[in-house]
Subunit: 319 residues, 2 copies
């Protein structure tokens, strides 16, 4: 049973960097990471969970250091052969990566829960923190775009986020349920802080918060909930956060991010950690913030941001 | 629609060598190969068809030249990673090989027929002859051994044929059916000869002949049916043929092979092609034979054996 001190809500690459910083700062078992599974999809008959993989590979120290997802020292022998025989090339499945996809898919099709499968994979990779999918139900993020409704990977990988997005749906979320493990983590008597990773609020965090009961349980805990802004100087380090917010008519920059969380999920966020570049902008909005250099390029960066978000004092916070 | 001049009943490595010789001697479309699928099994969530793959890779010219199965220039990055994470090592799935397993498994699970899938794979590899699975139904060769009942790959790969075999079952065969494509091939107006490859009579050929209707259709055609003996000097080139025949109380050598076919399937085999080393033994048994050097090491060997079996005159043969 997990009784974390810290819970992190997390998407892929950006969030995983903070997850690594927290994992290294905290003691084994003290961190539970709730990971978005709205990006999960079926490809080549495999069940692929991009954000879970990115978090797993990052914490295991085997992630590709430059791209931030997939495996370091990866080869693509299978994919090259597949493409040679007329198969699809758009999703880059590596050979090492395949070992994990095969293991997961086999158990997934047998009916094992994603939570159990993820725990076993994390154990194989000797990960110290707990990685939990946001649900064992199937939730699929889908995008209404100017070019029709697109599945997430279709939009994100194949179309490289080019289509203009009008609305986002989290299909299946309304009937999704939280796992026993997730409920236990959220009820941890040792819980001190809930952190929202600098992941895309709309594509990574909102799917997690769309699981019935999740929001209420976060609010009820009465521990500070702190978000790390996913934008620096109004721009996303990676991914379509800024573009997407604009397309959906949201205000830009860290103020826009704060406004999105505050309006969409009242009484959830207590404070935000933002980059120093955004202090002036944030001060005009009245949201409670602290700042540091939030760009996470080195391991030291990850530790610094993790330290900052753990120490962020939440004035007027919860009892 | 296929209207072959020659039909070959075939198992894995040894049979595939003869298939290649025939494929190169005959015109495109003139050869249809009916392949054993009793060895097919599920592994890592993949549907694997070892004999179909061996025949496909051999005819495509991409087979591993020394081992006779799997791909040339293969890598095992996925498998090494899988084993590192505690996965099974006993079945050597290569990275190139995986591309095919993934494609097939995806369609197989969708409900596509193995015959269609095989045809599309053969087309991707630009194979000139027609490769047909013996059935689209699931048939599983299982072995009653001194160590209990074993699945085929368990016996053949994991246990390396060590357990003593008492009986062989072709589970599912009695309710298996022939595909339309197979029925069409067997009804070909151009058919001149049916050849039984030098494959294991019990493990590769018997499963094919166990499909309801197969034996009768072969007999009714009235074209010569010629077997190539899978033993040279009483020994198998590869695999457990001799060991298995002994364990099942069958007579050894080419005479034993002939006796097995003649007793088990009366009025099917018209003649056998045997190795020169076995002429003396065969002459004592009264079976109709021709001889050549049947060891197929080089491409010339394959062509020679193919030529011999095509030219084998069947005295007293069918009208």
């Amino acid at each position: 049973m997990t009784a974390p001190r810290v819970i992190l809500l997390c998407g892929g690459v950006g969030g995983a960097k903070l997850a690594l910083g927290l994992d290294r700062l905290l003691s084994p078992g003290d961190l539970t990471i709730i990971v978005n599974t709205g990006d999960d999809f079926d490809h080549l008959g495999l069940r692929i969970c991009p954000d879970l993989d990115t978090v797993l590979y990052t914490l295991a120290g085997v992630v590709h250091p430059e791209q931030g997802w997939g495996r370091a020292d990866e080869t693509f022998v299978m994919l090259d052969e597949l493409v040679r025989r007329g198969g699809p090339a758009w999703f880059r499945v590596g050979d090492r990566d395949l070992a994990l996809h095969l293991q997961r898919s086999l158990r997934w099709r047998r009916g094992d829960r994603l939570t159990e499968i993820t725990a076993d994979l994390a154990s194989q990779f000797a990960v110290r923190s707990t990685i939990l999918p946001m649900t064992d139900s199937v939730v699929a993020t889908r995008l209404e775009t100017a070019e029709g409704v697109l599945d997430f990977q279709d939009y994100f990988v194949r179309r490289r986020c080019a289509p203009v997005v009008r609305q986002i749906h989290y299909d299946g979320a309304s009937s999704a349920s939280m796992s026993t493990e997730l409920l236990q983590a959220l009820a941890s008597p040792r819980l001190e802080r809930i952190i929202i990773a600098p992941s895309n609020p709309l594509l990574s965090i909102a799917p997690i918060l769309s699981i019935p009961g999740m929001l209420d349980r976060l609010r009820w805990r009465g521990v500070p909930i702190v978000a790390v802004a996913p934008l620096i100087g109004g721009r996303a380090i990676k991914g379509p956060t800024a573009k997407l917010m604009q397309e959906l008519g949201l205000r830009g920059g860290v103020v826009g991010v704060h406004e999105f969380y505050a309006k969409q999920y009242p009484d959830v966020i207590d404070a935000m950690l933002i980059d120093e570049a955004d202090v002036r902008e944030a001060s005009r909005s009245g949201c409670l913030v602290a700042s540091t250099n939030t760009l996470m390029q080195t391991m030291d960066d990850r530790l610094r941001v993790a330290q900052s978000v753990l120490e962020l004092s939440v004035k007027g916070g919860r009892p």
